[in-house]
Symmetry: D2
Amino acid sequence: MKVGFIGLGNMGVGMASNLVKAGHEVTAYNRTPGRDEALVAAGAKRAESVGIACRGEAVVTMLADDRAVEAVTFGEDGICARLPKGALHISSSTISVAMAERLTKAHEAAGQSFVSAPVFGRPAAAAAAKLFVVAAGSPDSITRAMPILDAFGQKTFVVSDTPKAASLVKLGGNFLLGAMIESLGEAMALAEKGGVDRHAFLDVMTSTLFDVPVYRSYGGLIADRNFSQATFTATLGAKDIGLALAAGDALKAPLPLASLLRDRFLTLFASGGADLDWCSLGALAARDAGIQD
Amino acid sequence: MKVGFIGLGNMGVGMASNLVKAGHEVTAYNRTPGRDEALVAAGAKRAESVGIACRGEAVVTMLADDRAVEAVTFGEDGICARLPKGALHISSSTISVAMAERLTKAHEAAGQSFVSAPVFGRPAAAAAAKLFVVAAGSPDSITRAMPILDAFGQKTFVVSDTPKAASLVKLGGNFLLGAMIESLGEAMALAEKGGVDRHAFLDVMTSTLFDVPVYRSYGGLIADRNFSQATFTATLGAKDIGLALAAGDALKAPLPLASLLRDRFLTLFASGGADLDWCSLGALAARDAGIQD
Amino acid sequence: MKVGFIGLGNMGVGMASNLVKAGHEVTAYNRTPGRDEALVAAGAKRAESVGIACRGEAVVTMLADDRAVEAVTFGEDGICARLPKGALHISSSTISVAMAERLTKAHEAAGQSFVSAPVFGRPAAAAAAKLFVVAAGSPDSITRAMPILDAFGQKTFVVSDTPKAASLVKLGGNFLLGAMIESLGEAMALAEKGGVDRHAFLDVMTSTLFDVPVYRSYGGLIADRNFSQATFTATLGAKDIGLALAAGDALKAPLPLASLLRDRFLTLFASGGADLDWCSLGALAARDAGIQD
Amino acid sequence: MKVGFIGLGNMGVGMASNLVKAGHEVTAYNRTPGRDEALVAAGAKRAESVGIACRGEAVVTMLADDRAVEAVTFGEDGICARLPKGALHISSSTISVAMAERLTKAHEAAGQSFVSAPVFGRPAAAAAAKLFVVAAGSPDSITRAMPILDAFGQKTFVVSDTPKAASLVKLGGNFLLGAMIESLGEAMALAEKGGVDRHAFLDVMTSTLFDVPVYRSYGGLIADRNFSQATFTATLGAKDIGLALAAGDALKAPLPLASLLRDRFLTLFASGGADLDWCSLGALAARDAGIQD
């Protein structure tokens, strides 16, 4: 397929490369130039504008937040204005439920199709085509999106025919990760104050009940206090928890654990931690317990 | 070895059987008679009193709470009074850190050894010798306990030479499970109010980030609202979260997520849920969100 | 002074009347007609548009929320476009800190002055000129606003020369009220489950430590479960707590008690309580405790 | 009346003096000697033991906690053993609901009467006979206690014929104070980060909605960061919030705001604040918000 790709950040560059590898004809655009050399070398074309990336059967966006998606979608040279009728916009960014609804309506009004298809996985998984994709959209648009989505990851889950549902699942997943971080942080702080090495505690947990990579990797970062090489910053984590809470607000679903995470992020930011890995949230319980690292 | 076993509940009966299978000479006691027929048939002797169960090299206790352990340990016919000098008390019950400290001192004063060795796993795992054992005690007493502990489970983790450390690890693990229950409950409530089937949400999560039995089994009970066949009641769950909080109190370690769980349990109890499976905690978020089951 | 008044709700109608009584020449506008008969009878003129209300030295807005203030301030017939250069916009609505900043800049750019002057008090206090006014703005604009502000209430507090500061103080005050409601609700639920009549409990508190009208009136509504005659709805209360949290977000100030209130409001809304008095928040603790009213 | 008085701390010494002034024949006992000189000079007798203080018609206890009350009540020379049949034990200490129940039963079994009569007020109020007394007990014992209780304070509230009810009301009152501290702390932190002086914020609040001494005095300590001259320490505050939570536990009444206070106290203790005034809780929100004092 002829596919545009907008957003060549840590995640996007790997995803676009895998589209090329899967045989798609890729035209890639990034707001700031210069992140696309390897991609172009691999066979992708460089787009000088959003509009140029919108000349194919589909365009994928992989951007940081609602605002960035809004910037490339609306306006004179935006996706809505430039994408041919009948073509497909696949949003893999983690966006708000409200933005997913807005995009659904705007593309419908413009005679285009919209699929929300956020992904689970860090940049290394994006590069290795090991992402998990959660997709929602009309059956027809999902069918058309599949050759693209399958190039991104190891499995695609179709959860609904309403695009916003995929955003909600993605936000729910990130909330579960945030809850895991907080719970590991509290448990390790308790263990440590009681004389149990926090690595030893984590080792028991990940060898028994929680024998799964996310507990091991996130827990390891917390136990190591290794937060400076962020692959997902606290700022991005706070954004997603905020989006989950905003969805809860709109849907009248109280989420007290998400509220706790929200307050934790603010405490972290107030002490200068915005650019740290979001696992740094897991060190606040130790700080409150008076543990000096 | 010649081993006494006190406490033939759902967990204890399986553990004692596995001691017999492993070739130990087991004398078993339960406060209320009649739970030991299969065990006796398999080769264990029946003890008419705590004291009779204390005539070997070691005695294991597997009881519901601090109070039950206190009842069999102290007093005229208690373990402290009856166990020979040099012999070993292995406590596999989930007890408070304070009780672990008290037992450590009492047995030391009586010239006996004490190992705290709580276990992770439900009754089926106890019967199948698939428990995970977390042990702490002096190196010598751990060495002597090993042939017993290894009969209980698939792996024994020695975390410290101070017995209370094992209790703390066990409480930390149960707290992580409680946090998981709450987070799954909130995430499913949010998903459901947004039109995503809660089973579908859970399926995505346990196929991707959280591909591990505890998320699948606990999450499944929550999604099914299947709480009446409790293998671990809300009352027992609340007890353990309370013990974690009590440890946090003593150690000056605030645990806000544990406090949230504590309040949730009280809400559950106030509406009559004490005997439900502790996963029922995970349905409260849905109730607060106005979801009618 | 020649003063425009926009927003003739429960609060605005009393405030505008008091401007008339104080000798000001008032031109009043309301989006939906028909709430101004008494006011017109008392001597106010009726404005058919926002622009007509903007022909004096000052215009006061007293509206429900940011959105309503935005609607009358911006756009072709908005205050910014219609108010003479040098004239004054006094916002007595409870608005977000962000909106206060936006209004400050917009009026500055248009050569006008802006004072934020939210008020404390219920409609009866507005009618009786017993409000408390919290004002912030440049010294010159405050001086010019004073004859208007003094007509509204019993005292005007000037807290800063930056308008947003007054909004922040107002939001902080409403947060204190919300915290009072929650604390009274929890304390009464505890007392009641322990056999102490909740009115008796409240009576002790308001006769001793908390001998002040807000505890007596709000506490009385909670004890009476009298929530249907809302003078301030849960929807409005939730809006203000949300604005306090948004300010905390922007300023990096975690507010865990405000987060608790936020979750409580969602629980209330999910069970249909949006139009009840916001004191109904104080009955949720009783509900969680299993108290049947 | 001939009255014993046990516990001559900051509060007790003033209360006992007022008994003398009211014409009672007072025999006073304190565990550690030497705090009774002024009292003896004023006309009280010094008791060398608990038993000697129990020779009158009534004995009052004013002690730090459950443990201290237990120590003087039970045992060979305790109040239960020494107080004449028909005589009265008035407990003015802030004790647990469980301890109030235990004392009720023990005195009933010993043929004595028991009144729980905790007080509101700081030491200066105790010295000035300005306390508020909350009393509960059988009508007959209340009648007999009245001449004593009225000597302590400006008003006595009889809330129930079950002694524990008075303890519950006292704990509820202290919880309301704790909630006030937390809410003031959060609101001031928010105001301050937004550029509003915290004293100015407090002044608006205590001149309007919260025009009552407790808001002024507690708020003033928080705004001044004046915590070292504790008249009520964080340790005592945490004890009372803990007793409220324990009562909630027993009664199945979740108290999320009290749980928040509990966690705050632990954070305070972990950073060395146990002996500060309990208002220091109100500075933690500022700390979390990154405010440097």
